[in-house]
């Protein structure tokens, strides 16, 4: 497979390298490429360029020129992504070498192939393509998925590193290189002080793409990550300013620079940085406002962020403000409101689409970085220059980081550790942004442009490849604190909130205005004004974080249910898929709510329950919770919400004892449980009948009821539709089921537990008409295993299932309606109930 892909790549490139001539989009910067060499030319040779005279009707014609540009673009995207596929196929390689490094190497190979075919580098990474088509989506993704709280908490530190650190890097690098030049270490090159400073400024900035690519595989602790990453994003403000300022200075020439110009330079920094951020902020607000009104066009709702984000970027570029800052803050600002306003499915769409674009672009950037290197024309080697640059970059980075951290630690609550500082300095990677800026240099003004490009490329390769490869072992060797995988727990959320409140109070008591006070004030302001303005009223009501955490956990558990149920019983579910569709149409609303779970089950894979499946199942749980949430928030369907909340996680003591993790009570009264099961099936059949269902095939009906049983375990809300005497038992059943995620359907049998309703007691002894399957009773007895898991598993072995199914195809009657009728008659004859057994009483207290 890898070999096939490689062959495909070669063929594609040689082929495209041939016909690809002037005016392809990706080769603006490369010099004359009108070579007529390499394979594939012949096809072009005499082909009509559109204007040739035709003498006869062509059946098909070769229209390469018309599709050339888009074709090449698409082809290159495909090639880059295939490279990524190739790389990811060897997972044990990516353990040691970060993907970005491997992509660059792929780029080398590809570049070599094209060079071999064309003798010129027809495809290079041009600044225009890079800055306009490849970079924005990466930054948008970064801003959109930025952990806001962490970011703003550490904003002070990030700004210090970004602004002061970058300025220091630029100045020190430029000046030292100039000093070395004067000292003669570099031989004879024509670079003046200003040009050195320009060069320094373009190499100073830590690159967000490279940082993301390398750090994502290392998983350092979040403070460290946000520091480096935040710095890499925010230093664009500085980089843009420095680059433009020095570029202008170089153009003006050294003589014209006086204090006024320098002051203007400093002012321009503030304008560019704050202007860019403000612009991004405005666009973020725009998006939030927009999503507030897009309820009717949910289908294209996800698209707005992309369009508006890109416009933010371009607008900032147009006004010569910092485009990266603009799109970053756009993403940061609109996160919260967008996610609240938009429909759940839209949010998911945005999340995945943005990752696709960002990751795809990143891949392409690295591949092209590699390709661009294979170009003889740009390489100028000057040992002193290059080596000194490398050395100074590392040294000054370390110095800068340590010095700034020392200053910061005096004001930080939790100081940044020494080891973290090492990683921070080592993680100052340069990347494609530096290369893009270098290529943008004007070669008329800067004679040694090629030297600078070569040096930049070497620096980029060194940082991405060498530092990228060694970062992971370094992190492990130094025992850097890693990111902790925290699961969402209610108690943590609760405690965090308690801490927040407490801290605000303590700050107030001790009479100082601190961090927490400010944050509290901002939160209040935000809640009162901004949310009111930017969020839909319905969304605003849903704001409570604690409840959302609860909601998430509920969702997770519900999905666990379905998964477990599928895994256990999916063999049964596969059959008769078609019949269910009929069911859905035929039955009225009540039943259709029970259906969604089953439909999802049916349509899913057999037997496996891979985690990915969660994504296909969401319609199940989301519907489940949409129901509950709608009921909750809009108070329309209070019943469903009430019931779900109450019975999914209600902690009635009797169930607590039954379903606690530490001990395990066995239901000794299996028969009763069976009875419940039967009765509920009965009632369902009744209601089906009463709904004028007509003649549905009995087999499917029974199957449905069994599923329904299961689904009813899952959807407490369905209870509202059951007949009255069903309610109570199902409430117990549901709450029982609700409590423990690992209880898919076993619960059905457990439904007997804690059930007060004495009406069921007399059925303990199966009457002749009670069709309690003995195998079910057996299963109950066997399930004395202490772990609930085991209990869960038991009924769902295939053997059990088969036996269960035979319940439906019983000897008695194939027409389950008739069955129902029979049982109905029996039920009416029940003697008055005996008192419930004492154990139940004790538990129910």
């Amino acid at each position: 497979m890898a070999a096939a892909a490689a062959l495909l790549l070669c063929a594609l490139l040689i082929f495209s390298g041939g016909p690809a001539r002037a005016s392809e989009e990706t080769s603006e910067a490369s010099p004359a490429e009108h070579e007529v060499s390499g394979a594939g030319n012949e096809t072009e040779g005499g082909s009509a360029h559109g204007e040739a005279v035709i003498t006869t009707l062509p059946i098909v014609s070769w229209k390469w020129e018309e599709v050339e540009v888009p074709y090449l673009v698409a082809l290159w995207i495909l090639v880059c992504w295939l490279c990524k596929l190739l790389i990811e196929a060897n997972h044990h390689v990516t353990e040691y070498i970060p993907e970005s490094a491997l992509l660059i190497c792929c780029g080398f190979i590809l570049g070599g192939m094209i060079w071999g075919a064309d003798k010129v580098q027809t495809f290079t990474l041009t600044p225009r393509v890079f800055f306009f088509y490849l970079l924005p989506q990466i930054i948008l993704d970064a801003g959109y998925s930025m952990p806001n709280k962490l970011f703003f908490t550490n904003l002070g530190g990030i700004l210090v590193y970004a602004i002061i650190g970058t300025c220091w890097n630029a100045a020190s690098l430029g000046l030292s290189l100039w000093g070395c030049h004067k000292g003669g270490a570099m031989g004879d090159i024509e670079i003046g002080l200003l040009q050195y400073l320009l060069f320094g400024s373009l190499l100073a900035a830590v690159d967000p793409v490279a940082v993301l690519a390398v750090f994502e595989q290392v998983h350092v602790n979040e403070v460290l990550f946000i520091m480096v990453f935040g710095e890499s994003l925010l230093n664009d403000g500085v980089t843009v300013v420095l680059f433009n300022v020095f570029d202008a200075f170089v153009t003006l020439g050294g003589a014209k620079i006086n204090a006024a110009e320098i002051v203007k330079g400093i002012i321009s920094f503030f304008v560019v940085a704050f202007g860019g951020s403000l612009l991004g902020f405005v666009f973020g607000l725009l998006i939030s406002l927009l999503t507030r009104c897009t309820k009717k066009i949910q289908i294209i709702e996800p698209g707005f962020i992309f369009v508006l984000g890109y416009l933010a970027y371009l607008t900032a570029e147009m006004l010569s403000l910092s485009a990266i800052l603009s799109i970053t803050f756009c993403g940061i600002c609109c996160q919260k409101y967008m996610n609240s306003n938009m429909d759940e499915s839209s949010v998911q769409t945005v999340k995945y689409a943005i990752k696709v674009f960002a990751n795809g672009s990143e891949t392409m950037i690295f591949v092209f970085l590699g390709i661009s290197a294979i170009d003889k024309t740009i390489w100028v080697w000057n040992t002193g220059f290059i080596l000194l640059t490398l050395l100074f970059i590392m040294v000054y980075r370390i110095m800068g980081v340590f010095f700034l951290t020392w200053i910061l630690n005096r004001t930080r609550l939790v100081p940044i550790e020494f080891i973290d500082q090492i990683i921070m300095s080592y993680g100052g990677l340069r990347g494609a942004v530096a290369y893009g800026l270098a290529v943008m240099l004007d070669e008329t003004k800067i004679k040694e442009k090629n030297l600078m490009i070569s040096t930049t490329l070497i620096v980029v390769y060194f940082t991405v490849i060498f530092q990228g490869v060694t970062l992971k072992p370094l992190v492990q060797w130094l025992k850097v604190k890693r990111a902790s995988h925290s699961e969402l727990t209610l108690i943590e959320k609760l405690q965090n909130r308690a801490f927040e409140h407490t801290l605000v109070a303590i700050e107030d008591i001790s009479g100082q205005i601190g961090h927490n006070y400010m944050r509290d004030k901002w939160n209040k302001f935000e809640e009162k004004y901004m949310s009111w303005f930017l969020m839909k009223p319905s969304a605003r009501k849903k704001q409570d974080r604690l409840f959302n955490a609860f909601h998430q956990l509920n969702l997770k558990d519900a999905m666990n249910y379905v998964d477990e149920g599928e895994r256990r019983g999916s063999l049964e579910f596969i059959r008769n898929e078609g019949a269910f569709i009929d069911f859905k149409k035929k039955f009225d609303d009540e039943m259709s709510e029970a259906m969604p779970d089953i439909m999802a089950d049916m349509s899913d894979d057999h037997g496996r329950a891979p985690p990915k499946r969660r994504d296909t199942v969401p319609s199940v749980s989301l519907e489940l919770h949409e129901q509950s949430m709608r009921g909750n928030r809009a108070a329309e369907d209070f019943n469903s919400h009430h019931l779900l909340q109450q019975h999914l996680y209600k902690g009635r003591k009797q169930h607590r004892h039954r379903y606690s993790r530490s001990h395990f009570d066995i239901n000794k009264d299996e028969n009763e449980v069976q009875e419940i099961f039967q009765r509920t099936m009965k009632s369902r059949l009744e209601s089906f009948k009463s709904g004028k269902m007509g003649v549905a095939p009995p087999k499917t009906i029974t199957k449905h009821t069994k599923k329904e049983q299961q689904s009813k375990m899952l959807n407490g809300k369905n209870r509202s539709y059951l007949s009255g005497d069903e309610d109570f038992e199902f409430s117990e059943g549901d709450s029982a089921s609700g409590y423990d995620a690992s209880f898919p359907t076993r619960v059905a049998y457990r439904a007997g537990d804690g059930i007060e309703n004495p009406a069921f007691m007399p059925d303990v002894d199966p009457s002749s008409t009670m069709h309690i399957p003995p195998w079910l009773a057996d299963v109950e007895l066997d399930s004395v295993a202490p772990s609930q898991r085991a209990q869960v598993r038991l009924p769902w072995t295939p053997g059990d299932l088969r036996r269960l199914s035979s319940l439906r195809t019983s000897v008695r009657s194939s027409d389950s309606f008739q069955l129902t009728d029979d049982r109905q008659g029996d039920r009416d004859e029940l003697p008055p109930p005996p008192p419930p057994p004492p154990r139940r009483d004790g538990d129910s207290v």
Binding site: L413, V414, S484, S486, T489, L490, I491, E492, L494, Q495, N496, R497, A498, F499, E500, H501, T502, L503, I506, E507, I509, S510, G511, Q512, G514, H515, N516, K541, Q543, D544, L546, F547, F550, L553, N632, R633, H642, Q645, Q646, L648, Y649, K650, G651, K653, R656, H657, S660, R661, S662, H663, Y739
Partner: protein, 168 residues
Amino acid sequence: MGSRASTLLREEEIEEIKKETGFSHSQITRLYSRFTSLDKGENGTLREDQVNFRGFMRTLAHFRPVEDNEKNKNPPTTEPLNSRTNKLLFAFRLYDLDRDDKISRDELLQVLRMMVGVNISDEQLGSIADRTIQEADQNGDNCISFQEFMKVLEKVDVEQKMSIRFLH
């Protein structure tokens, strides 16, 4: 300490407080002036609960940032008030109103009610409370003991989340 004379802070007291809480001299004096400004009744205590200055300082001491280097210089005989355990104990006591060393469901409900918005109904609150207890409760007594509390919060960065910088 109900007399006006106690409004002046004596040196020995400052030293004692310093040793007990770890605040610096200037911090103590600063907080003392704050205490007196809060102490409207000028009787040396805050509110009816009779929190005197020592108690005030002791409570505030819980919120000092954790410092590791302190331990190296002179390991304190008793655990400093701002250690992680003590911070958590303080937090625990916020919930445990009846001081029985257990957070029962009702105590949790009270705190929850204060912390969530008004949109949440009582049943939902009850469910949240139950689930919260379920997450932490290991011995099945339906209450959260301090050990369970500590265990379930072991991943939380208490040192940072429960500290403020005291101005000098």
